[in-house]
């Protein structure tokens, strides 16, 4: 029997339909398609796909369960390693992780591992999640700061080891970037909440409105708890640092997305938080966050949504699927362009951006070819709204208030591979340690830190 060379397609809303709503774009696999797709897996003995998984899921194991139609068992296999599969099954960059290592790539497309993970997570949610077994209590207490992907993963894993875990969250909702950053049409908030409920069912408690560093300090937490994990993320937006950036009409990606996603400005005035979007919107940057901004702008009624990026498509850091979705929806890519200033009208309201044309030069330290300005190539574009999505830096609140913590030059907390900081008993992971990266890498860091915390507590008398 020959193996099908391509992945089974995942049905999705048509581009013209979906740009008019905030509903999730793909519908997910049906049972039948999932089983067919799972049967493509060769069940390689050396499991190359697992090498690409930061949270160590037994990938061939759960795919084998799907192929046999045992979806509950598949969920158990995934949950043994990953407490948040409905999230990773939607936002992981599979192509450069598990699917990137798949043997089937030698003859065609890899097994659609991401889509299968998502299928199982959704199947489980729709059929009632099995309550997890409560382990015997170790009598140890751990405080986790931040309820984003790193914190939730670390908390869930620690709870499964029998530790008592309390999460401190600065905002009013759990999930961190999953809630404020990633749009509803890519990661529905009901799904985030359901995954958080699962972590809570493991015994984890979440306290909201606690801004650690302000409301309580890490030093106060370490007196009360046996260990502390810091997962406060990369919340500080980077700016272009060009003239006119504080004009009315320019948002950081964080402000724009937080207003729309967490505060639900797309349902204003039913919800109180407004967002103002013009007819012509330009997003600067080409990562996942930039794609989220450009696509959100279309859904809010922008007539034209541009992405301005100083390199070419080959260097774009966004997931392939995000770029593809953005193109289908009509986002216009202006590549090899770098903004040099924003221009406002007499009232200070943004109405133009001036940019330079670029060409690619020699590779830089990231290995990508460095964009070099073409002299005298200035051009202007009339715009109403600008969204700056060129990355985030680690949130400074905790580093500012802890003099004894070793901090890197980018404001990140310095840790070893397992999240140990320079202070015994204090661990950190996710974007606060690595600088801005992906959800799944933060989850992997949370997982490793949970193991390191467990080991630390076993040695602590």
């Amino acid at each position: 029997m020959s193996v099908r060379k391509t992945k089974h397609e995942m049905p999705e809303q048509s581009p013209t339909e979906r740009t008019k709503n905030f509903k999730e774009v793909p519908y997910g696999y049906s049972k039948e398609i999932a089983i067919e797709e799972a049967k493509r897996c060769l069940q390689c003995k050396n499991k190359p796909c697992m090498k690409g998984c930061p949270v160590e899921i037994d990938i061939p194991g759960f795919i084998n369960c799907i192929a046999q139609g045992d979806f509950e068992k598949a969920a158990e296999v995934i949950k043994a390693k990953n407490n948040l599969p409905a999230i990773s099954g939607r936002v992981c960059p599979y192509e450069s992780q598990c699917e990137g290592e798949c043997t089937l790539k030698k003859i065609g497309e890899p097994v659609a591992i991401g889509r299968l993970e998502r299928f199982i997570a959704d199947y489980e949610r729709e059929h009632g999640k099995k309550p997890p077994k409560k382990p015997q209590s170790t009598g140890r207490n751990i405080a986790v700061v931040g309820s984003g992907p790193a914190g939730l993963t670390c908390a869930g894993d620690l709870a499964r080891m029998g530790h008592s875990v309390t999460i401190y969250e600065a905002l009013h909702d759990p999930g961190g970037v999953l809630m404020y950053g990633i749009p509803e049409f890519r990661l529905p908030k009901a799904i985030v909440k359901s995954e958080v409920e699962y972590v809570k069912s493991l015994g984890v408690e979440i306290n909201y409105d606690v801004v650690v560093g302000k409301t309580v300090t890490v030093h106060e937490l370490i007196e009360e708890y046996d260990a502390v994990f810091i997962g406060t993320g990369a919340g500080l937006p980077n700016w272009l640092n060009i003239p006119g950036e504080n004009l009315d009409g320019i948002y950081s990606a964080n402000e724009f997305l937080t207003r729309v996603n967490m505060m639900k400005a797309y349902r204003f005035p039913e919800y109180d938080t407004p967002v103002k979007i013009g007819k012509i919107v330009v997003t600067f940057g080409a990562g996942n966050v930039a794609m989220d901004c450009a696509r959100t702008a279309l859904r809010l009624g922008a007539e034209k949504s541009y992405i301005l990026y100083r390199r070419t498509e080959a260097e774009m850091p966004a997931r392939a699927e995000e770029i593809e979705h953005a193109k289908q929806e009509g986002v216009i890519f202006k590549l090899l362009t770098a903004p040099i200033r924003f221009i406002g009208d007499e009232k200070g309201i943004l109405n133009e951006v001036e940019y330079l044309k670029m060409q690619l030069g020699e590779p830089d330290e990231s290995g990508r070819r460095r964009p070099v300005p073409i002299p005298d190539s200035e051009e202007k574009l009339a715009i109403d709204t600008a969204l700056v999505a060129i990355g985030q830096s680690p949130n400074p609140l905790i580093p500012q208030t802890m003099k004894d913590l070793n901090i890197g030059k980018h404001g990140n907390i310095i840790t070893d591979d397992d999240g140990r900081t320079s202070v015994p008993g204090i661990f950190a992971g996710g974007d606060i340690a690595s600088g801005a990266a992906t959800v799944i890498l933060a989850m992997g860091a949370g997982k490793r830190a949970a193991r390191a915390i467990d080991a630390y507590l076993k040695n602590k008398t």
Binding site: D209, N246, P269, P274
Partner: protein
Amino acid sequence: MYPVVEKKVLSENVKLLKIKAPLVAKKALPGQFIILRIDEKGERIPLTIADSDRKEGTITIIFLEVGKTTKQLGTLIVGDSLENFAGPLGLPSEVKKYGTVVCIGGGVGIAPLYPIVKALKEAGNRVISILGAKTADLLLLEEEIHAFSDEFYIATDDGSKGHKGFVSDVLQQVVNKHKIDMVMAIGPIIMMKVVSNLTKKYNIKTLVSLNPIMVDGTGMCGGCRVSVDGKTKFACVDGPEFDGHKVDYDNLMLRNRRFVHAEGEACKLVGAS
């Protein structure tokens, strides 16, 4: 949930609420602010702390009803609760012995000035206070601030109490008479701008407390960015107090008008004018 334990109507559009929030009260220092959200559909708004009581575990906020959220906040009564109340946020005022300080409060800006006046007095400063409002009815915390002041002045736009005119007129007279070591000004942006322009001529250190539009209040969104000495600063984590001589007030006024249209729309829908 954070219950309202006391309410006072200070004038037609200015209300005082005392909120039970023990964790915030335990840490609150003069100059800091909180972010609140009334209910699950509400927006997050920052308000500077007007008073705090560690023993009671309460924070007092005083606000002018200007938009939908503050109007709704004004309808709450004792026994109602706020969905969210986070803080204390921002850096506290730098309270130390300067010598002679002038504390200027305009309108609802008088409220956050009060804990600073108290702290500066307790730190051994000679405190001269100047309060300003459109009319005498809108003056806040007169007696409270007077009690901690060595000299005390009032200015009203209509002359219904104290000097007829602006706080800056009174400040000019004070500056003519005394050697001033520091000026603290909290109030409408235009007032802080005028005060800063005046003190700049005499090279008097001046601090102003800014209240731009915020969302999270933790340094994440950058909505509250202000230009200080040509550099972009976030009022939520770098402020809210800044060197008054270095703030770009015009840009701040512009940025605070960003959602005026939407605010009007939201108010209309709930029947608030």
